[in-house]
């Protein structure tokens, strides 16, 4: 066989392989179902680690920051709600959320929501995790999630509700996710 023919066959085979993988369940939204059972420490996960500085108040008074620990709280009036946009590559699958808080007395709970916002008047809380109400610095991890990022129809936000005043502070949020496949990034026009 001539070298030119061999090169042509190899190139065609590579293109066919790319199309096969891109159109497979791993290349589309069915990935979220195919990726169940991944543990929080899996190397398959990528991380979106947002410090408390990245949040802005939705309600309450001004935001107060602890320069040393990097934790924040809100001044009155209650309720104390903060939010930050979640910007992940489209087609990613959110698998876990970690909430890091400081609770001086261990008496006030903190809630973290993943909001999907299809339109300004509608907010859907697609995931939730609650602090353990333990005194001091602590973190809590959500149960396993399978939220596929679809920014064609949704905006996404991380929303935190602090139950208490300065005794309860937000220190950070980490989102573990699986990025879209190479083909979803590079060749979206052939991905399903």
């Amino acid at each position: 066989m001539k070298t030119g023919k061999r090169v042509t066959i190899v190139c065609c085979s590579l293109v066919a392989l790319m199309l096969l993988v891109a159109s497979s369940p791993l290349g589309g939204y069915a990935r979220s179902a195919a990726l169940v059972g991944i543990q929080p420490d899996s190397p398959a996960l990528r991380h979106y680690n947002l410090p408390a500085w990245g949040f802005r108040p939705l309600t309450g008074g001004g935001i107060i920051a602890d320069d040393i620990a990097g934790c924040v709280y809100l001044t009155p009036p209650y309720p104390y709600r903060l939010a930050a946009p979640l910007l992940l590559p489209e087609g990613s699958v959110v698998k876990y959320m970690h909430l890091i808080v400081y609770d001086a007395a261990g008496l006030d709970d903190v809630h973290l929501y993943l909001d999907a916002i299809p339109e300004p008047t509608a907010v859907s809380q697609v995931a939730h995790v609650q602090s353990l109400m333990v005194a001091g610095y602590g973190s809590v991890t959500s149960s396993e999630l399978s939220v596929t990022v679809d920014m064609a129809t949704n905006a996404y936000a991380l929303e935190v509700v602090l139950a208490g005043d300065y005794h309860t502070q937000l220190c950070g949020v980490r989102v573990d996710y699986i990025p879209p496949s190479i083909f979803a990034i590079a060749l979206p026009h052939i991905a399903r």
Binding site: L26, R31, L35, I38, S42, P43, A44, L45, R46, H47, Y48, N49, L50, P51, W53, G54, A65, D67, I68, A69, G70, C71, L87, I100, V134, G136, Y137, G138, S139, C171, G172, R174, I178, P179, S181, I182, F183, I185, A186
Partner: protein, 171 residues
């Protein structure tokens, strides 16, 4: 006060004369001053002017693709004629390991002081791998009295396409 659009335009103007030297494989993210501050912008430059006579600090998260390597940070600034001031930009890495108190480490710092009009100060070459599994990253701008803050820039090498693309087949 000027709009974000004006501020971004100002960065474009800065980039015309103070753009980084192209380096193979290095990408850039430039953040306008309007992401740090809400008011007190000075037209026409679109830079935030510290007119309060006291030290100001503002911090924003730095979110880069995991596995990237930070190669440098830079601060764009402006001084009115005859004005003297100082400013600095810090790249901070904050480790979270509850129940321990979060620990912040200073990864890089650039400092400027002077009287030139538009200026740029860049760090020496850095090699800081981005690992967000246990830490978050912050950029803190500290403004001395006077002077204007226009933008910051982070130079980084993104992770390879395979680091992004193929994690889901390795558990």
């Amino acid at each position: 006060m000027v709009s974000k659009g004006t501020a971004i335009l100002a960065i474009g103007l800065l980039g015309g004369t103070l753009a980084p030297q192209p380096v193979q494989g290095v990408r850039h993210i430039t953040i306008a001053a309007s992401e740090f501050f809400d008011g007190d912008f000075q037209p026409p430059e679109g830079c935030w002017h510290n007119q309060y006579g006291v030290l100001w600090t503002r911090t924003v998260p730095l979110l880069l693709p995991e596995g990237s390597v930070v190669k440098g940070i830079a601060l764009y600034y402006h001084h009115h004629e005859g004005e003297y001031s100082t400013a600095r930009l810090d790249l901070i890495k904050r480790f979270h390991a509850p129940p321990a108190t979060p620990v912040a480490t200073l990864e890089a710092r650039v400092t400027e002081e002077g009287t030139v009009e538009f200026g740029l100060v860049e760090s020496a070459e850095l090699t800081i791998p981005v690992d967000m599994s246990s830490a978050s990253y912050e950029l803190a701008f500290v403004a001395g009295t006077g002077g204007s803050f226009c933008a910051i820039r982070v130079d980084y090498i993104p992770p390879s396409i395979f680091a992004v693309a193929l994690p889901h087949i390795s558990r």
